[in-house]
């Protein structure tokens, strides 16, 4: 398929050339960071000897859980690809009325914690419990993982190729299928991978929907026995699954180059007229928005209106919101910085080292939050005690947990920036750092920013690691939500959930505004 694309010659592809030190060193730092939980798991899993750990892993039930988890992940990924790609294409490339508003709305479900989504569906339709309910709730909160990078990729595509295809007599559908879709593949596959890892690590939705998966088993293992060995051994299996998924995603990428050849014309891409498809397209967007955004918001509104337990402590709410913004911004910033070198290497360089670096960055992502949190407790207590239960450690936890979100976005964005410009800069004597700063980063900026915004939002709603690692007495919107729902008062939780969703709308809006 790569041959269809101009500029897919040897000079454009990822190269075997060794990445410059200015990338290798920070990328290795990021990878080491992400590998921390693995070190911890090794220590804990082998605590009682490899035989015991093997007994846990070799249990018949383990295989069954692998099957259940993978089945759920694949279902959700498939659904997210359909929702994400269709919405991205409709909002970016067609003359859809209110396209910008739809694209902002489509990112909002990210702000809904999976357990809130699951609860709202359970309260409305108790029969959804089980596989269907878990798949539904997880799809509705995670399809923006696909929609955001695909939309960013669509904006970066050189319209000349599509125009060429059209001029050669291809219809819009054929052009989309043969020209556009292949170019979206890295972004869609990267987003799909994130969704898969998110599903593997999710605990909230599956526990409420009573669909036991791997993460569920790890949680109950901690809860039931306080024996960290079985939980750690099971977590190692999860890491193996992650590596397998990352490798599989790498295969679907293919070897196609995806850069545009020009420096990016200021000319806007002509919107595809929808014609008689306008109404179905609008209906599709409305339907998705209704179930993914309006439904949870409406349920929250209902709780707010009918609940007697709702406290209207606006001062406390504002304080919590402010703290949440602070840690989430810091988490997003650190994660983005760490992801940048890994993402650039993953996009620009081939070979074992580059692949290992990228896989390492993903290692922590499928692990349940509590495993990552306990790993950081373990390391901080031993090697960085003054930092323990301080903000920097919490922010590091966010980076370990969400590094892949930023790496995927960076990689997809860099892939679209033509490497020939970097070559030119290098041939003009620019040093690698300046090439990165002056050429690569500015070209990849929209995608990197989308990744940063995504990271920002997922940090905001993170719960298990925040509970264990936050400074004593500090609260985020997610921990307040947990406290209020823990006391059974969903009405009291509603303001925090609503605030979470409203705040998460800000980065989405900013990205929407800056997009072309």
């Amino acid at each position: 398929m790569g041959r269809l694309l101009p500029g897919a010659g040897p000079g454009v592809r990822a190269t075997d050339r060794r990445p410059p030190w200015v990338l290798i060193v920070p990328a290795c730092v990021a990878a080491l960071f992400a590998l921390l939980p693995l070190g911890y798991l090794a220590v804990r899993a082998l605590e009682r000897g490899p035989g015991y750990a093997w007994d846990v892993v070799a249990d018949e039930r383990t295989l069954q859980l692998v099957g259940r988890s993978l089945g759920l992940a694949l279902t959700v990924v498939a659904a997210c690809l359909v929702l994400g790609v269709s919405l991205a294409w409709l909002t970016v490339r067609t003359a859809l009325p209110g396209a910008r508003a739809w694209s902002v709305l489509a990112t909002l479900p990210l702000a809904v914690p999976s357990y809130v989504a699951a609860f709202t569906w359970l309260s409305a339709a108790p029969r959804t419990a089980g596989f269907a309910g878990a798949a539904l709730a997880l799809t509705l909160v995670s399809f923006p993982y696909v929609q955001l990078p695909v939309a960013a990729a669509l904006r970066g595509i050189d319209p000349a190729q599509e125009e060429a295809a059209r001029s050669l007599g291809h219809g819009p559908l054929s052009t989309f299928w043969r020209i556009t879709l292949p170019q979206l593949r890295p972004a869609a596959a990267g987003g799909g991978l994130l969704v898969a890892l998110y599903v593997l690590s999710d605990f909230g939705a599956v526990s409420l929907m009573r669909y036991d998966t791997f993460t569920w088993a790890i949680h109950t293992s901690y809860r039931a026995s306080f024996d960290r060995t079985p939980a750690a051994a099971l977590s190692v299996v999860l890491v193996v699954m992650t590596v397998a998924l990352v490798a599989a995603e790498g295969r679907t990428r293919g070897r196609a180059g995806h850069a545009r050849t020009g420096t990016g014309s200021a000319r806007p891409i002509a919107a595809v007229p929808l014609g008689r498809w306008r109404i179905p397209a609008l209906a599709w967007c409305s339907a998705v928005t209704a179930v993914a955004v309006a439904f949870p918001l409406g349920t929250l509104g209902y709780w707010l209106a009918v609940g007697t337990s709702a406290t209207r402590d606006l001062g406390g709410l504002a304080e919590t919101a402010w703290a949440t913004l602070g840690v989430a911004a810091a988490g997003a910033a650190l994660t983005t910085l760490l992801a940048l070198p890994v993402g650039v290497i993953a996009a620009r360089h081939r070979g074992r080292g580059a692949r290992l670096l990228e896989q390492a960055a993903y290692a922590g992502h499928a692990l349940p939050g509590i495993t990552v949190a306990l790993a950081l407790v373990f390391f901080a207590v031993r090697y960085a005690y003054p930092l323990y239960q301080q903000l920097p450690l919490l922010i590091c936890a966010y980076a370990v947990l969400f590094l892949p979100v930023a790496v995927a976005a960076t990689r997809a964005a860099v892939l679209q920036a033509p490497p020939v410009l970097e070559d030119v800069a290098r041939s003009l004597g620019r040093r690698p750092l300046r090439v990165l700063r002056d050429v690569t980063v500015p070209l990849a900026a929209p995608g990197v920013a989308a990744g940063a915004a995504l990271t920002f939002v997922v940090c905001m709603k993170e719960l298990p690691a925040t509970l264990l690692l936050r400074p004593t007495g500090m609260d985020t919107l997610a921990t307040r939500l947990w406290t209020e729902t823990g006391a059974g008062s969903f009405a009291a939780a509603a303001p925090y959930a609503a605030a979470l969703i409203l705040l998460a709308a800000v980065p989405s809006y900013l990205l929407g505004r800056h997009r072309t």
């Binding site: 009573r210 306990l374 929209p446 920013a449």
Partner: protein, 346 residues
Amino acid sequence: MRRPTARLITALTAIGLLVPALAACGSDDKGGGSGGGDDAALVIYSGRNEKLVKPILDKLEKAVGSEVDVRYGESAELAAQILEEGDRTKAGLFFSQDAGALGALSKEGMLEKLPQATLDKVDSAYRGGEGDWVGLSGRVRVIAYNPDKVDKAPDSVHDVVKPEWKGKVGFAPTNASFQAFVTGMRVLEGDDATRTWLKGLKANGKTYSNNLATLDAVESGEVSLGLVNHYYWYERVAEKGEDKVGAKLHFLPGGDPGALINVAGAAVLKDGGQSATAQKAVDYLLSKEAQTYFAEETKEYPLAAGVTSPVRDLPALDSLQAPDIDLSKLESLQETLAMLQDVGLV
């Protein structure tokens, strides 16, 4: 048009990197000595919900004469955290939602033996076998029933698996109290009998997501019986008035496993460096003031000798015929979960 986005990233990065730096400065001046010592603030890891216990922990601060920092979380996760912290734990006192988490810390030798005077305040049935934790409040498993549907609830959980109750029993298999009760049954009657009973329950029962949903189903008549904890009913009665609550409670007689009493409790951490203050805190939590608070707010049973619950119509603790069981044995929850999975209930 890429510039604004690039600026956005730069700004976000700058903000992000500044916040922790500022926060680190801020936390320095209030952090004090992190080395512990009895003069520092008492750190409580609380597995009980903040909404529930914050008022009484505020009072505790005055009673023990020391500043108190409370870290809220889930009992199991906080216990795992303390285990991971080992001898560098910051927790002086662990306030747990259930006996299992306390038992786990006790097994690892992380808890300090409590003074005999403190232990003596609580019946030996409600404290750790090693004398290193005490129960503070108790919850009883009961059968809720709908008087419109049945005249009388059965006297044993063994009865609810009989054919006459088919489709009429509600329960919450994922609820921790339900699982603790099944563990109790395993301890009392063995695995085989429990497995058979669970199969019968699965055939007869309807599952709900939690105790409240189960109680709702009993009230609405969706099921006739519900296996729940006693306090959900008393809370509802306190909220709505007894005449508006369409369910009644039946306390099971004769040491039936369905009448298990489980506890929430507290323990002092050996390595928290705050033993003296933490012990004072335990004594305060067993004081009449605190015990009455639990009884009123949570409708649980106060466990300190000499304190009776002010909740109306609550049968006296010593009148209950709970099964005779060592609560520390409830830690074999793992096997219970395996059995529940095996039977197909979770």
